[in-house]
Protein backbone atom coordinates (compact mmCIF):
# COMPACT_ATOMS: atom_id res chain seq x y z
CA UNK A 1 0.00 0.00 0.00
CA UNK A 2 2.83 2.31 0.89
CA UNK A 3 4.47 1.54 -2.41
CA UNK A 4 1.29 2.25 -4.36
CA UNK A 5 1.02 5.66 -2.82
CA UNK A 6 4.59 6.40 -3.59
CA UNK A 7 4.29 5.62 -7.26
CA UNK A 8 1.05 7.55 -7.63
CA UNK A 9 1.41 10.40 -10.12
CA UNK A 10 1.75 13.77 -8.53
CA UNK A 11 1.39 17.23 -9.89
CA UNK A 12 3.46 19.81 -8.16
CA UNK A 13 1.99 23.12 -7.21
CA UNK A 14 4.68 24.84 -9.24
CA UNK A 15 7.94 24.02 -10.80
CA UNK A 16 10.83 23.20 -8.50
CA UNK A 17 13.53 23.90 -11.04
CA UNK A 18 12.98 27.64 -11.01
CA UNK A 19 11.71 28.79 -7.68
CA UNK A 20 10.65 32.14 -6.35
CA UNK A 21 12.23 32.44 -2.94
CA UNK A 22 11.03 34.89 -0.36
CA UNK A 23 13.61 35.65 2.33
CA UNK A 24 12.13 37.17 5.44
CA UNK A 25 14.50 39.20 7.58
CA UNK A 26 14.43 41.28 10.71
CA UNK A 27 17.24 42.70 12.78
CA UNK A 28 17.65 39.59 14.94
CA UNK A 29 20.62 37.27 14.62
CA UNK A 30 18.29 34.38 13.88
CA UNK A 31 17.01 36.10 10.78
CA UNK A 32 20.59 36.74 9.70
CA UNK A 33 20.85 32.96 9.47
CA UNK A 34 18.34 32.95 6.64
CA UNK A 35 20.58 35.14 4.54
CA UNK A 36 23.68 33.17 5.60
CA UNK A 37 21.96 30.02 4.45
CA UNK A 38 21.14 31.56 1.07
CA UNK A 39 24.79 32.60 0.77
CA UNK A 40 26.07 29.11 1.52
CA UNK A 41 23.97 27.06 -0.89
CA UNK A 42 23.77 26.38 -4.61
CA UNK A 43 20.69 27.80 -6.37
CA UNK A 44 19.10 27.05 -9.70
CA UNK A 45 19.92 29.40 -12.55
CA UNK A 46 16.37 30.69 -12.84
CA UNK A 47 15.61 31.11 -9.14
CA UNK A 48 14.38 34.54 -8.15
CA UNK A 49 14.65 36.15 -4.74
CA UNK A 50 12.53 38.65 -2.87
CA UNK A 51 14.04 39.93 0.37
CA UNK A 52 11.51 41.38 2.76
CA UNK A 53 11.56 42.96 6.17
CA UNK A 54 8.38 43.57 8.10
CA UNK A 55 7.84 46.71 10.12
CA UNK A 56 5.44 45.58 12.76
CA UNK A 57 4.18 48.62 14.55
CA UNK A 58 1.72 46.60 16.62
CA UNK A 59 4.43 44.28 17.79
CA UNK A 60 6.47 47.23 18.89
CA UNK A 61 5.13 46.58 22.32
CA UNK A 62 7.13 43.37 22.49
CA UNK A 63 10.01 45.53 23.52
CA UNK A 64 8.27 48.40 25.24
CA UNK A 65 11.33 50.51 25.61
CA UNK A 66 12.32 50.61 21.98
CA UNK A 67 8.72 51.06 20.84
CA UNK A 68 8.25 54.06 23.05
CA UNK A 69 11.52 55.67 22.24
CA UNK A 70 11.63 54.92 18.53
CA UNK A 71 9.14 56.49 16.18
CA UNK A 72 7.83 54.43 13.24
CA UNK A 73 10.24 56.24 11.00
CA UNK A 74 13.11 54.54 12.79
CA UNK A 75 11.55 51.13 12.25
CA UNK A 76 11.10 51.85 8.56
CA UNK A 77 14.63 52.98 7.89
CA UNK A 78 15.90 50.01 9.89
CA UNK A 79 13.91 47.66 7.66
CA UNK A 80 15.22 49.35 4.54
CA UNK A 81 18.78 49.06 5.79
CA UNK A 82 18.31 45.34 6.53
CA UNK A 83 16.93 44.48 3.09
CA UNK A 84 19.42 46.56 1.13
CA UNK A 85 22.39 45.09 3.03
CA UNK A 86 21.06 41.60 2.43
CA UNK A 87 20.47 42.35 -1.24
CA UNK A 88 24.05 43.50 -1.65
CA UNK A 89 25.42 40.32 -0.04
CA UNK A 90 23.18 38.14 -2.18
CA UNK A 91 24.01 40.08 -5.31
CA UNK A 92 27.72 39.50 -4.73
CA UNK A 93 27.05 35.78 -4.32
CA UNK A 94 24.54 35.47 -7.17
CA UNK A 95 25.31 38.31 -9.61
CA UNK A 96 23.12 36.88 -12.39
CA UNK A 97 19.99 36.30 -10.35
CA UNK A 98 16.91 38.47 -10.17
CA UNK A 99 16.74 40.05 -6.71
CA UNK A 100 14.09 42.33 -5.32
CA UNK A 101 13.51 43.89 -1.94
CA UNK A 102 10.39 45.04 -0.17
CA UNK A 103 9.59 46.57 3.19
CA UNK A 104 6.26 45.40 4.50
CA UNK A 105 4.17 46.65 7.35
CA UNK A 106 1.64 44.99 9.58
CA UNK A 107 1.59 41.95 11.81
CA UNK A 108 4.60 39.87 10.77
CA UNK A 109 2.86 36.62 9.96
CA UNK A 110 0.07 38.15 7.88
CA UNK A 111 2.48 40.42 6.04
CA UNK A 112 4.73 37.50 5.06
CA UNK A 113 1.82 35.27 4.03
CA UNK A 114 0.17 38.03 1.98
CA UNK A 115 3.42 38.85 0.27
CA UNK A 116 4.11 35.18 -0.48
CA UNK A 117 0.67 34.91 -2.09
CA UNK A 118 0.91 38.09 -4.12
CA UNK A 119 4.40 37.35 -5.36
CA UNK A 120 3.55 33.63 -5.93
CA UNK A 121 6.50 32.53 -3.80
CA UNK A 122 7.51 28.87 -3.99
CA UNK A 123 9.59 28.94 -0.84
CA UNK A 124 9.73 31.15 2.24
CA UNK A 125 13.12 31.21 3.91
CA UNK A 126 13.19 32.46 7.46
CA UNK A 127 15.34 32.27 10.55
CA UNK A 128 13.71 30.77 13.60
CA UNK A 129 13.48 33.06 16.56
CA UNK A 130 14.07 30.04 18.71
CA UNK A 131 12.17 31.43 21.66
CA UNK A 132 12.34 29.15 24.64
CA UNK A 133 10.40 28.62 27.81
CA UNK A 134 7.87 31.21 28.84
CA UNK A 135 8.41 33.48 25.86
CA UNK A 136 7.79 30.56 23.55
CA UNK A 137 4.67 29.66 25.42
CA UNK A 138 3.30 33.18 25.35
CA UNK A 139 4.44 34.36 21.98
CA UNK A 140 4.78 31.16 20.05
CA UNK A 141 7.15 31.22 17.16
CA UNK A 142 6.58 33.33 14.07
CA UNK A 143 8.07 30.52 12.07
CA UNK A 144 5.40 28.11 13.28
CA UNK A 145 2.67 30.60 12.46
CA UNK A 146 4.04 31.16 8.99
CA UNK A 147 4.37 27.45 8.36
CA UNK A 148 0.76 26.80 9.27
CA UNK A 149 -0.69 29.30 6.81
CA UNK A 150 1.96 29.48 4.11
CA UNK A 151 0.73 28.93 0.55
CA UNK A 152 4.10 27.39 -0.35
CA UNK A 153 7.08 25.53 1.04
CA UNK A 154 8.80 26.95 4.09
CA UNK A 155 12.35 26.63 5.29
CA UNK A 156 13.23 27.42 8.87
CA UNK A 157 16.93 28.14 9.14
CA UNK A 158 18.26 27.28 12.56
CA UNK A 159 21.94 26.72 12.80
CA UNK A 160 24.45 29.25 11.68
CA UNK A 161 25.86 28.04 8.41
CA UNK A 162 29.48 28.70 7.68
CA UNK A 163 30.19 29.90 4.17
CA UNK A 164 33.21 27.66 3.84
CA UNK A 165 33.00 24.13 2.53
CA UNK A 166 31.35 21.92 5.08
CA UNK A 167 33.38 18.85 5.89
CA UNK A 168 31.34 16.12 7.45
Amino acid sequence: MLLNLLSAPMTNLRSLTNMKILISLDSSSSSQRAIDFALSRPWAEDDEFLIVSVVDVDRGDMSMASAMTSPNKTFNSEAERIVSEAKELLHNYLPQHKLETRCLSGPIKQAIIECAKNWSADLILLGSQGRQGLNRLVLGSIAEDVLRDAPCSVQIVRRKFSRREDQS
Binding site: L2, L16, P42
Partner: protein, 150 residues
Protein backbone atom coordinates in the same frame (compact mmCIF):
# COMPACT_ATOMS: atom_id res chain seq x y z
CA UNK B 1 25.56 19.58 4.25
CA UNK B 2 23.90 16.56 5.80
CA UNK B 3 20.27 16.23 4.82
CA UNK B 4 17.82 14.00 6.67
CA UNK B 5 14.68 12.97 4.79
CA UNK B 6 11.93 11.29 6.80
CA UNK B 7 9.82 9.14 4.49
CA UNK B 8 6.42 7.79 5.46
CA UNK B 9 5.17 6.68 2.06
CA UNK B 10 2.55 9.41 1.91
CA UNK B 11 2.11 11.82 -0.98
CA UNK B 12 3.54 14.48 1.28
CA UNK B 13 6.81 12.70 1.69
CA UNK B 14 6.82 12.10 -2.08
CA UNK B 15 6.74 15.89 -2.40
CA UNK B 16 9.88 16.09 -0.26
CA UNK B 17 11.61 13.52 -2.46
CA UNK B 18 10.65 15.50 -5.58
CA UNK B 19 12.09 18.59 -3.96
CA UNK B 20 15.40 16.79 -3.33
CA UNK B 21 15.44 15.54 -6.93
CA UNK B 22 14.72 18.87 -8.55
CA UNK B 23 16.80 21.26 -6.48
CA UNK B 24 20.53 21.87 -6.87
CA UNK B 25 22.89 20.30 -4.29
CA UNK B 26 26.59 20.41 -3.64
CA UNK B 27 28.64 17.35 -4.55
CA UNK B 28 29.60 16.73 -0.93
CA UNK B 29 26.05 16.98 0.42
CA UNK B 30 24.92 13.66 1.83
CA UNK B 31 21.43 12.34 2.41
CA UNK B 32 19.86 9.94 4.89
CA UNK B 33 16.43 8.50 4.14
CA UNK B 34 14.67 7.39 7.27
CA UNK B 35 11.40 5.61 7.86
CA UNK B 36 10.01 5.46 11.36
CA UNK B 37 7.88 2.47 12.25
CA UNK B 38 5.44 3.85 14.77
CA UNK B 39 3.42 2.06 17.36
CA UNK B 40 -0.17 1.80 16.19
CA UNK B 41 -2.25 4.75 17.46
CA UNK B 42 -4.26 2.51 19.74
CA UNK B 43 -1.17 1.91 21.84
CA UNK B 44 -0.78 5.54 22.68
CA UNK B 45 -2.09 6.39 26.06
CA UNK B 46 -2.05 2.81 27.21
CA UNK B 47 1.50 1.65 26.92
CA UNK B 48 4.29 1.99 24.49
CA UNK B 49 6.50 -1.03 24.15
CA UNK B 50 9.61 -0.40 22.06
CA UNK B 51 10.63 -4.02 22.38
CA UNK B 52 7.69 -4.99 20.21
CA UNK B 53 9.47 -3.41 17.28
CA UNK B 54 12.89 -4.87 16.81
CA UNK B 55 14.56 -3.84 13.57
CA UNK B 56 15.34 -7.41 12.57
CA UNK B 57 11.88 -8.81 12.35
CA UNK B 58 8.33 -8.07 11.45
CA UNK B 59 6.44 -7.23 8.30
CA UNK B 60 6.56 -3.54 9.14
CA UNK B 61 10.32 -3.49 8.84
CA UNK B 62 10.41 -5.47 5.63
CA UNK B 63 7.89 -3.13 4.09
CA UNK B 64 9.74 -0.07 5.38
CA UNK B 65 13.00 -1.28 3.94
CA UNK B 66 11.29 -1.91 0.59
CA UNK B 67 9.81 1.58 0.67
CA UNK B 68 13.17 3.17 1.33
CA UNK B 69 14.80 1.13 -1.44
CA UNK B 70 12.26 2.47 -3.94
CA UNK B 71 12.93 6.05 -2.85
CA UNK B 72 16.67 5.40 -2.85
CA UNK B 73 16.51 4.16 -6.44
CA UNK B 74 14.44 7.18 -7.38
CA UNK B 75 16.98 9.60 -5.91
CA UNK B 76 19.97 7.74 -7.31
CA UNK B 77 18.52 8.14 -10.79
CA UNK B 78 19.30 11.85 -10.57
CA UNK B 79 21.85 12.33 -7.77
CA UNK B 80 25.38 11.00 -7.48
CA UNK B 81 25.64 12.04 -3.83
CA UNK B 82 26.07 9.74 -0.87
CA UNK B 83 22.60 8.47 0.11
CA UNK B 84 21.93 6.08 3.00
CA UNK B 85 18.77 4.55 4.40
CA UNK B 86 17.65 3.71 7.91
CA UNK B 87 14.58 2.18 9.49
CA UNK B 88 13.89 2.94 13.13
CA UNK B 89 11.07 2.24 15.54
CA UNK B 90 9.37 4.54 17.98
CA UNK B 91 7.31 7.69 18.09
CA UNK B 92 8.04 9.53 14.84
CA UNK B 93 8.80 12.98 16.16
CA UNK B 94 11.17 11.91 18.93
CA UNK B 95 12.97 9.44 16.67
CA UNK B 96 13.45 11.95 13.87
CA UNK B 97 14.68 14.68 16.22
CA UNK B 98 17.06 12.25 17.98
CA UNK B 99 18.39 10.95 14.70
CA UNK B 100 18.95 14.49 13.42
CA UNK B 101 21.03 15.15 16.53
CA UNK B 102 22.92 11.88 16.40
CA UNK B 103 23.64 12.01 12.67
CA UNK B 104 24.49 15.72 12.94
CA UNK B 105 21.98 16.70 10.29
CA UNK B 106 22.18 20.25 8.97
CA UNK B 107 18.77 20.09 7.36
CA UNK B 108 15.61 18.01 7.55
CA UNK B 109 13.46 18.02 4.40
CA UNK B 110 9.92 16.76 4.84
CA UNK B 111 6.41 16.98 3.43
CA UNK B 112 3.97 19.38 5.03
CA UNK B 113 2.18 16.72 6.99
CA UNK B 114 2.60 13.01 6.99
CA UNK B 115 -0.63 12.29 8.77
CA UNK B 116 -4.01 13.19 7.42
CA UNK B 117 -7.58 13.38 8.62
CA UNK B 118 -8.46 11.63 11.81
CA UNK B 119 -4.96 10.46 12.63
CA UNK B 120 -3.71 13.99 12.32
CA UNK B 121 -6.39 15.18 14.68
CA UNK B 122 -5.54 12.43 17.09
CA UNK B 123 -1.77 12.50 16.88
CA UNK B 124 -0.98 15.94 15.57
CA UNK B 125 1.26 16.72 12.68
CA UNK B 126 4.65 15.08 12.85
CA UNK B 127 6.06 17.83 10.66
CA UNK B 128 4.96 20.59 12.99
CA UNK B 129 6.40 18.74 15.96
CA UNK B 130 9.69 18.07 14.23
CA UNK B 131 9.90 21.68 13.10
CA UNK B 132 9.52 22.85 16.69
CA UNK B 133 12.08 20.50 18.21
CA UNK B 134 14.62 19.95 15.45
CA UNK B 135 18.23 20.80 16.30
CA UNK B 136 18.79 21.98 12.73
CA UNK B 137 17.15 23.73 9.79
CA UNK B 138 13.94 22.29 8.42
CA UNK B 139 12.41 22.57 4.96
CA UNK B 140 8.71 21.83 4.81
CA UNK B 141 7.71 21.06 1.25
CA UNK B 142 4.16 21.82 0.24
CA UNK B 143 2.68 20.60 -2.99
CA UNK B 144 -0.74 20.34 -4.58
CA UNK B 145 -1.56 16.88 -3.27
CA UNK B 146 -0.21 17.71 0.08
CA UNK B 147 -1.40 21.25 0.64
CA UNK B 148 -3.85 22.30 3.28
CA UNK B 149 -7.08 20.57 2.45
CA UNK B 150 -8.42 19.25 5.70
Amino acid sequence: MRVLIPIDGSECSKAAVDYIKERPWNKDDSFLLVHVVEPIPVDIGIAYIPAAYTPDEGAAFTQSEALLQVVLGDLKSVLTNQIDTKVIAGPAKAEIVDLAQEWKADLIVMGSHGRKGFNRLLLGSVTEDVMKSAPCSVTIVKSAHCSKSE
